[in-house]
Amino acid sequence: MLELVDIKKSYRQPNGDPLPILSIPHFSVAEGEQVVLIGRSGGGKTTLLHLIAGITRPDSGQIFFEGRSIEKLSEAASDRFRATWMGYVFQTFNLLPAFTALENVLLGMTFSRKPVDRKRASQLLDRVGLADRMHHKPTAMSVGEQQRVAVARALANKPRLLLADEPTANIDTANQQNIIDLIRETAEEEQIALVLVTHAMEVADQFKRVVLLQDINDLKPQDHSEASGWVTPSAEKNAS
C-alpha cells in the first residue's frame, strides 16, 4: 500500500550548502504489514516518516499510497490526506496541554474528512486503559498515560497507515513493552499498516520485518556529514 521510489531528501546547512540525508531507491509496505525501521540516532528516520506523512516534501522521487502519488499533492491536500488516512505517534507525545485526553483524541479526527466520533474516541481511551482519565489534562497524567493517549489519538480517524516515531524513547522500561504491545495489537486488530521507527534492537526483535535504514538509504559516505557516522552498504563492502 505504500511505495517510495527514488526518494532523495537533503537539508540546507547554515552556510547554504545542501546536506543530503536520504537517498532511497525503493521502499514499500504492504497492506496491514508491520515494519520496524531501525537506524542510528540522527540518521534520517524521522525525516523518512515526515516524508511518508507529507509533513515535508522530497527533493525528488515519488511516494505512492494505495497506488496514488501523494508527493505532488498541494500542501493543503497533503494535510487533509494525512488527517484522513494516516495516524502519527510522536516521540515526545505532543499532546496539547490545554485539552483533556478525550479532546486530544478528538483532535485526531477534527481535521480529517471523516465525521468526528466521540464514541470511538471514548472507546479508544478505554482500550488503552484510560477510561477513567479521559477528562484529565496531560499535565495530570504520567508519561506512560500520555503516550497511551497519543496512541489513541493516532488511531482516532481509523487510519490506513500508522507511523510511530520512537514511541518508547521517553517511556520508562516498565511501560515500554506495554506501549509496543498496544500499538502492535491495535494495528493488527484494525488491519492498519504500521511503520515503527526505533533505535532499540529489543523493540525491533518483536517484529517480523525489520528494515535497517542504512540498507534502504543509498547514501554514499562523501554525500553525508561524517559526524553522523553514516556508511552505505557499498562503502562498507569496499572497506572490508
Binding site: H50, D79, Y88, N94, F99, T110, F111, V116, R153
Partner: protein, 513 residues
C-alpha cells in the same frame, strides 16, 4: 472540536494574559461608549430646543447665539429688551384691542371723550359755552385727539396675519439657581412641543397659571419638573423671585405655585414660569415713562380684569401695568411655513428687533463648538481602542514562540496552514469582541448610574439599553451599532501578524523542538 473551541482553549490556557488583554480592550470600549453617550446627550440636549413648538425667535438686535441661549435654554444674560408694543405687532386686532385697554394712550383717549361729554353736560347745566369750550380745549391739550380708527388696538399687528402664535418671554429674575420666566398662559396652553409639535404640556400636579384668578390675583406660577424635584416645591407654595441675579434682592411680592409641569425633556423643565402681568407688577420691572397718565384708581364694578377689589391686602387692588411701561426680552413665534422666510426679513430690516431661526443657531453652535470637541473625544477614544488592539497583538504574538510546537502538532494532525491562521484570528476576535462587550456593558452601566444626574442637568433621559443617537448625515445609524464590526476589523488587523507567523510555521523543524 471546531476552530472556535480550539481558540477558546488556547485563550484559557493563557488565562491571566488573556484576562488582562481583554480587560484592556474593555476599558477602551468603556471610555468610548461613555464619550459617545456624552456626545449623544449633549447633541440631544441642544437639539431638543428644536422641539419646543415655535420656529422663529424675535429679540433685540445683537448676538444671535446669545439670544438663542437666553431664550431657548435660559442661559446667559438677555441682550436687551424690546417694547411691548412690538410684541403686539404679531397679534391680530382682537387680541391687540384687549391688550391696548391697558395702555396709557387708550386711557387718555377714554379720558378725552369723558371730558368732552363732561363739557357737553356742563353746557346743559347752564355753564357758559366759553367755560365748556375751555374744558374741552384743556382735555384736547392734555391728550391727543384720536379717532377710533387710529387707535392701535383697532388694527391688526404688522405681522399679525403671518403669525399663528406669539408668546412673550420676560427674563431677568431667579428663584434659587433657576430662571424665572414671565410669560402668558399660552406658553403651556396653546404651545405644543415634541418632534411633531403635537405634545401638550401636562401637569403632574395642579394646573396652568391664569392671567388673573380670584385666589391669587396676577401672581401665579408654574414650575418645571426639575425645579420641583430639586427645590421640593409643591402646589400652594409661595416663591419670591430674586431680581437680576441669583444673589439679587428678593422681591416682596410672592407668587403662588399653582402647577408643576410633567417632565418634558426640554429646557422648560429647569425654569419657573410666572404670569406676565404679575411679573410686570414687581418692583423695578416697569419701564419709566416720561409722559404718563396719573395712576389709575380702582373703580367699582369695572369689568376690566386688571381691577380687583380687596379690603385686606393692598396688592389685591393692583391693575395691570400700562403697555408703555412694559418691555419683553424675546418673543416665541409659530409662523406658517409660507411666511417663515419673508417675515423674519421684514423684522430684521426694521430698527427695533431681529428675528432668527433658533434651530439654525443651535445647529451652528453645535457644529462650530460642541461637535468638534466631541469629535475629538471620540477620536481619542478610538485611538485608545487601537492601543488596546495592539495589546492583543503583542499578547498573542508573544505567545507564538511558546506555541510553535503546538501549532506544528496541529499541522501534523492534518490542520492546514489556513486552519491555524484562522485559529489565531479567532483568538484575536474572541479577545477583542468579548472585551468590547464587557466594555459596552460597563460603559452603559456608568451612563445608567449617571442618568439621574444627566436628566437633572440636561433634561435628557438615558437608560441602560439606550443607544447613542445617529449622526446624520455622517452616520445614519447609532455609532454603537458599528462597535462590534469595527472591533472585528481591528481584531483581524492586529491578529494578522501572529496569524501569519503561525501560518509560516515549519512543521518538521518545530516538531523536533
Amino acid at each position: 472540536m471546531n476552530l472556535f473551541s480550539i481558540a477558546i482553549r488556547s485563550i484559557r490556557q493563557r488565562g491571566l494574559a488573556s484576562i488582562l488583554t481583554c480587560f484592556s480592550m474593555a476599558l477602551g470600549v468603556t471610555l468610548m461608549v461613555a464619550v459617545i453617550a456624552i456626545h449623544g446627550v449633549v447633541n440631544e440636549s441642544f437639539k431638543i430646543g428644536q422641539y419646543l413648538g415655535y420656529n422663529i425667535l424675535v429679540g433685540p438686535k445683537g448676538g444671535k447665539l446669545q439670544l438663542t441661549l437666553n431664550s431657548v435654554y435660559y442661559l446667559d444674560e438677555p441682550i436687551e429688551n424690546i417694547p411691548y408694543e412690538y410684541y403686539l405687532e404679531f397679534k391680530r386686532q382682537a387680541e391687540r384691542e384687549g391688550d391696548y385697554r391697558h395702555s396709557l394712550r387708550q386711557h387718555a383717549h377714554d379720558l378725552h371723550w369723558e371730558l368732552t361729554r363732561a363739557a357737553q353736560q356742563t353746557m346743559g347745566l347752564g355753564v357758559s359755552s366759553g367755560t365748556a369750550g375751555m374744558v374741552t380745549r384743556l382735555a384736547t391739550r392734555v391728550v391727543e385727539k384720536d379717532s377710533e380708527e387710529n387707535l392701535p388696538g383697532k388694527r391688526d399687528g404688522q405681522f399679525g396675519q403671518f403669525t399663528h402664535l406669539a408668546i412673550p418671554l420676560l427674563l431677568g429674575d431667579y428663584y434659587e439657581s433657576f430662571r424665572v420666566v414671565g410669560t402668558t398662559p399660552d406658553m403651556f396652553g396653546a404651545m405644543k412641543f415634541g418632534p411633531s409639535a403635537d405634545r401638550q404640556y401636562l401637569f403632574s400636579a395642579g394646573r396652568n397659571f391664569k392671567v388673573h384668578s380670584s385666589e391669587n390675583g396676577f401672581f401665579e406660577a408654574v414650575v418645571g419638573s426639575v425645579v420641583a424635584r430639586q427645590t421640593n416645591l409643591k402646589v400652594g407654595d409661595k416663591i419670591n423671585p430674586r431680581h437680576g441675579s441669583v444673589d439679587g434682592h428678593t422681591h416682596n411680592q410672592p407668587f403662588t405655585v399653582v402647577g408643576i409641569l410633567d417632565s418634558t425633556g426640554t429646557p422648560n423643565d429647569r425654569a419657573v414660569f410666572v404670569n406676565m402681568e404679575g411679573f410686570y407688577l414687581m418692583a423695578d420691572h416697569a419701564k419709566p415713562v416720561e409722559e404718563t397718565a396719573s395712576e389709575e384708581e380702582t373703580e367699582e364694578g369695572e369689568e376690566d380684569p386688571g381691577h380687583q377689589e380687596s379690603e385686606q391686602d393692598p396688592f389685591d387692588t393692583v391693575t395691570p401695568l400700562p403697555l408703555e411701561q412694559r418691555e419683553v426680552t424675546a418673543i416665541l413665534l409659530r409662523v406658517d411655513a409660507l411666511f417663515s422666510v419673508g417675515m423674519p426679513n421684514l423684522v430684521n430690516e426694521g430698527p427695533v428687533a431681529q428675528a432668527i431661526y433658533p434651530i439654525r443657531e443651535i445647529n451652528k453652535f453645535f457644529g462650530t463648538f460642541i461637535g468638534p470637541v466631541l469629535g475629538l473625544l471620540v477620536v481619542i477614544t478610538l485611538m485608545i481602542c487601537i492601543v488596546s488592539g495592539v495589546g492583543i497583538l503583542v499578547s498573542i504574538y508573544n505567545s507564538m514562540s511558546d506555541r510553535r510546537q503546538e501549532i506544528a502538532v496541529l499541522r501534523a494532525l492534518g490542520a492546514e496552514r489556513s486552519t491555524v491562521l484562522w485559529i489565531i484570528l479567532f483568538e484575536s476576535l474572541i479577545l477583542s469582541i468579548s472585551g468590547g462587550l464587557i466594555g459596552w456593558t460597563l460603559g452603559h452601566g456608568l451612563v445608567a448610574l449617571a442618568s439621574p444626574i444627566v436628566e437633572a442637568k440636561t433634561g435628557v433621559v438615558v437608560g441602560f439599553f439606550d443607544l447613542a443617537p445617529a449622526l446624520p448625515p455622517y452616520l445614519p445609524v447609532s455609532p454603537e451599532l458599528l462597535l462590534i464590526p469595527l472591533l472585528a476589523i481591528l481584531a483581524i488587523a492586529v491578529g494578522l501578524i501572529p496569524a501569519i507567523s503561525a501560518y509560516r510555521t515549519d512543521v518538521s523543524e518545530s516538531l523536533g523542538k
